[in-house]
């Protein structure tokens, strides 16, 4: 099993969710996040005051999939989240040792 963590632009959330569903992946966790990479922050002047946003709003999607589904999930995210501009985000992949379904104690890939 592999854990996929994707930090994307908030405006791309619906498109990424749809793409993952289409790829047959239903379970995911969505988190509101802030951050930046090379993308600079944003400064707005409003009524003489400066408002600087260093950490831009992002969405983080976390999902755990079977090994054979990982690449499909990654491609679904990449194709739907990409705009080509700095700030599109990143995907991180790591191995998962086990997964347990709380309701009935089911373990392993079948618990996904």
């Amino acid at each position: 099993m592999q854990k996929i963590e994707a930090v994307i632009q908030p405006s791309k959330l619906d498109a990424v969710k749809d793409a993952l569903l289409e790829a047959g992946i239903e379970g995911m966790t969505i988190l509101e996040a802030r951050g930046h990479g090379r993308q600079k922050g944003h400064t707005e002047f409003y009524r003489g005051r400066e408002y600087t946003v260093d950490l831009l709003p992002k969405i983080k999607i976390e999902l755990v999939v079977r090994d054979e589904m990982a690449e499909q999930a990654i491609q679904a995210i990449v194709s739907s989240a990409r705009t080509g501009k700095i700030g599109d985000g990143k995907i991180f992949v790591s191995k998962v040792d086990d997964a347990i379904r709380i309701r009935n104690d089911e373990r392993g890939p079948s618990a996904l």
Binding site: Q9, P10, L13, E32, R47, G48, V53, P57
Partner: protein
């Protein structure tokens, strides 16, 4: 004595058969009340039989078997515990017959009952333990089953009333305290996606609580068990399904479904209950959203009654303040009294005056008072009479405005809604009464959501977090908060029509309300636009809010700063009212960011986006249609005057080149009126129109542009002691300016002397036509500025990118008398022309935006530096 296994087996088998029969009856009829009464009967007979077998005859005069709690009420739900009390005459009885008692209890378990027994002597029942109040309360629902009737009679008639009356305060206050703790545990709301039918606010516990408090109040009055039945609580009088029958049916359904005492109405249970129409009068299948709507209606009725009774429980200790509040004070002009924060209708007073009733709700909205439950009952009973007494027109709007603007508006509206008054006034609201949007994120029904939206805006008066403080700054800047709150009240009424977008439907439903309130055209349009656009900001937030295109598209839908502020506040409140977790700091930050970007866009695009008749012929036609046909002169005798044709070329010339902002911030009627002023310029080169607004006055100037014009206008107003709060200055392609100034009359000159208005207007005309020197006017009326409470630093910001042909200059500085004139004189001295001016005030800060040109071009760096130095110097001189 031990139970005979064969007898037990027979009893167990018989009980199982009866239980199965009960279930089948319930599934056929859906009658929960009948099912629980019948189970009480069956279990009662079974316990009597066990008693007869297991308790020796000698004990029958020394003990009594008493049903308590739900069993005592004859409400034995399918999987509920069976509460019984083994009452012993004295302390010798229990040791003597302890084996029999234990045998009975064991037999109950063996037969398949979940026994919840208690054993007490008569003397022990005299004591009330605050830590075990549940036992005392369970005795309120006692019922004789078997044993000594004499002992039971002594217990019920002699002992129990004395104990209850002696410990009345303790029992009642502890009941109230336990209920409050339970309500708090469930968030003080009936709105749960998966409610617990027993424990949740509005559930069976609250129903029983209302019964107990009613019974205890009656006992205090009558000093004995009340003669009338204490179980006289029902839902609202014309509800087809009583709250109790519905709740009972639901709980029975849940017990049978789970096979245990499970009271959670989870998502799947709701689907099944709806499919079987559990608790509904008509059998068949119903939609889960409709079924849950019934749930919320019943729960609301039960919760409201329980809350009112809890609220009426006297507190344990009275402070001096509370003793003061307890004083009964008449409410002037009404038949109401205020006592302890509750409004009571005087004894004997008839409830037929709709005007007084409405005014009372204004008081409730202002102070947070509650109505006593007896007063609520009397108002509810009088609804048919009140229905024909309710006012319309300006008085109704005045009362509604008082409610909407009060800090406790949501509380007042909930009270009005619960009593049916709100739907009398606004029948359009009926469609969203307890309307359920059945998904996992909408916590509330649509009507409750609306009240939360209104509450969320009012709560901004006391902001807690940084993002709330920023948004709170927008609230005092609303031009017409009353219209804004009216829009909030109506914004989701369209959800009752389940076809298509609800925003448009809400606008349609609001039209009839506008007519009843007799709102004018501008007021209706302001409310319409807020309702129509109320989802636009949320939609924009789902896109890239840092993208200029997103900001532009959103700003063009909003069109004016006034609408933007209302939409921002509405979006904040609307998101927060979906559920307590919906508005995260993340979302609030994004909301503020989008607001700032859109606000800046609106200010910075004014000079760029100008009206071209060729590009927007539809708008031109609308204005043309409003120009009244002008008579060519007196009609010949006996003939009708032939109207002159509408001067479309002149109109086109007037509109051409005006900033789109001008057209967006004026109604078509206002534009038509200002065109007429422009037409009159050939007779009088300075045209002025004065009008009084709610708390401001307004002067509109239409005249050919010239250097120093703006400075002169600002000077005259300052000389008269007028504090300019807002202004905008626009010019068309032909060089005609349309400047509008809104100001407060600091010294109340015009307010106290209405005849001065004409002199004031003439004074402006004289100054602008140079018949009078503005400097002389200002010297002759020297008003000393007051010391400011908040110091505002001066900040100047030049932007040569905002417009393709002018330089934007934003000035933020201390608002002082004469400020605008000094700024304008700096421009004149620097030979700068004002293409557009947007003047605003925020507290003690003046926030002014100008689009300037010099020699028809943008200001270069040198010109900016020179102007900047001049402004800084002049503004520093002005500071008190």
């Amino acid at each position: 004595m031990v139970a005979d296994p064969l007898s037990l087996g027979r009893l167990r088998s018989r009980y199982q058969d009866d239980f199965t029969q009960l279930r089948q009856n319930f599934e056929r009829t859906g009658d929960g009340s009948a099912a629980i009464r019948r189970r009480s009967q069956i279990v009662g007979a079974l316990l009597c039989e066990l008693w007869g077998h297991l308790v020796p005859g000698s004990a029958h005069t020394e003990m009594a078997l008493i049903a308590t709690g739900g069993f005592g009420r004859r409400e034995l739900f399918p999987c509920s515990d069976v509460d019984v009390l083994f009452l012993c005459a004295n302390e010798k009885v229990e040791p003597a017959f302890g084996d029999s008692i234990r045998a009975c209890i064991q037999a109950m378990w063996d037969v398949g009952l979940r026994a919840s027994p208690a054993t007490r002597t008569l003397k022990e029942c005299e004591r009330v333990h605050p830590d075990n109040l549940e036992f005392t309360v369970s005795l309120l629902d006692r019922r004789f089953l078997a044993g000594s009737r004499a002992l039971y009679s002594k217990f019920e008639t002699d002992l129990l009333p004395v104990v209850i009356l002696r410990e009345w305060d303790t029992i009642v206050q502890n009941l109230a305290e336990m209920a409050r703790a339970r309500h708090a545990k469930y968030g003080n709301t009936i709105f749960h996606v998966e409610p617990n039918v027993k424990e949740c606010p509005g559930g069976l516990r609250d129903y029983h609580l209302a019964q107990w408090l009613t019974l205890l109040n009656s006992m205090r009055e009558e000093k004995a068990w009340p003669r009338a039945a204490a179980d006289d609580f029902y839902g609202t009088h014309d509800e087809p399904e009583s709250a109790y029958d519905f709740l009972s049916a639901v709980r029975c359904f849940l017990h049978y479904r789970a096979g245990r005492d499970d009271n959670t109405l989870d998502w799947h249970a709701q689907d099944e209950a709806a499919a079987r129409s559990i608790g509904l009068e008509t059998r068949g299948t119903s939609d889960p959203a409709y079924w849950m709507r019934t749930w919320y209606r019943q729960a609301r009725t039960v919760y409201r009654r329980a809350s009112l009774l809890i609220d009426a429980v006297p507190p344990p200790r009275r402070s001096f303040y509370k003793q003061f509040r307890r004083k009964r004070t008449p409410v002037p002009g009404t038949d109401f009294f205020l006592e302890d924060g509750r409004l009571d209708l005087a004894e004997g007073a008839a409830v037929h005056d709709g005007d007084s009733i409405l005014q009372i709700f204004g008081l409730i909205a202002k102070h947070g008072y509650r109505l006593s439950h007896s007063t609520e009952d009397r108002i509810a009973d009088a609804l048919p009479v009140l229905a024909v007494q309710m006012p319309e027109g300006p008085f109704l709007w005045s009362c509604l405005r008082d409610v909407l603007l009060g800090p406790w508006a949501a509380h007042a509206l909930r009270t009005m809604h619960a009593l049916g008054i709100l739907e009398l006034l606004i029948p359009e609201f009926h469609g969203i009464d307890a309307l359920v949007i059945r998904d996992t994120w909408h916590r509330y029904t649509v009507d409750e959501h609306t009240f939360h939206v209104i509450d969320n805006v009012h709560r901004l008066r006391q902001p807690q977090h940084d993002w709330e403080k920023r948004l709170a700054g927008l609230l005092p800047e609303l031009d017409r908060p009353d219209l804004f709150f009216l829009a909030l009240l109506m914004h989701d009424t369209g959800k009752a029509r389940r076809n298509g977008g609800h925003a448009s439907a809400s606008v349609e439903l609001s039209e009839s309300l506008f007519a009843r309130l007799e709102l004018d055209a501008d007021e209706r349009e302001a409310v319409r636009r807020v309702i129509h656009n109320h989802l636009e900001m949320s939609a924009a937030m789902r896109r890239d809010i840092f993208d200029n295109e997103t900001v532009r598209a959103f700003a063009e839908k909003v069109t004016t700063p006034s609408q933007l502020k209302m939409l921002t506040l509405m979006t904040y409140a609307d998101i927060g009212a979906v559920s307590p977790e919906a508005l995260t700091p993340w979302k609030a930050e994004s909301l503020w960011q989008l607001y700032m970007s859109a606000s800046n866009f609106l200010d910075r695009s004014v000079d760029e986006i100008r009206y071209r008749a060729a590009a927007d012929p539809a708008f031109f036609s609308r204005i043309t249609a409003l120009i009244p046909a002008m008579s060519s002169g007196p009609a010949p005798q006996g003939r009708t005057a032939i109207p002159a044709p509408v001067p479309t070329d002149e109109l086109r010339g007037f509109l051409e080149g005006l900033p789109q902002r001008y057209l967006n911030t004026r109604s078509p009627e206002q534009i038509a009126a200002q065109f007429r002023l422009a037409q009159a310029l050939r007779d009088q080169p300075v045209q002025l129109a004065f009008r009084s607004l709610r708390q401001l006055s307004e002067v509109t100037l239409v005249t050919p542009d010239r250097p120093g014009l703006f400075a002169d206008m600002a000077g005259v107003l300052s000389a008269w002691g007028m504090n300019i709060v807002k202004a905008d200055a626009f010019s068309n392609a032909a060089g005609i300016i349309v400047d509008t100034f809104q100001f407060t009359d600091t010294y109340r000159t015009l307010e106290l002397n209405t005849s001065e208005v004409d002199r004031f207007v003439q004074s402006i005309r004289d100054a602008l036509t140079h018949k009078v020197s503005v400097e002389q006017l200002m010297r002759s009326r020297n008003h000393k500025p007051t010391r400011p409470r908040v110091a505002v630093d001066t900040r100047l910001e030049f932007d040569n990118d905002a417009s393709s042909h002018s330089t934007l200059l934003q000035i933020v500085t201390q608002d002082t008398p004469g400020l605008l004139r000094e700024i304008a004189l700096s421009f004149t001295a620097a030979r700068c022309n004002i293409a557009v001016a947007l003047i605003d005030t925020e507290g003690e800060a003046a926030i002014d935006v100008f689009y300037l040109t010099k020699g028809g071009q943008k200001l270069d760096d040198a010109a900016q530096a020179s102007l900047s130095a001049s402004l800084v110097h002049r503004l520093a001189q002005l500071r008190p």
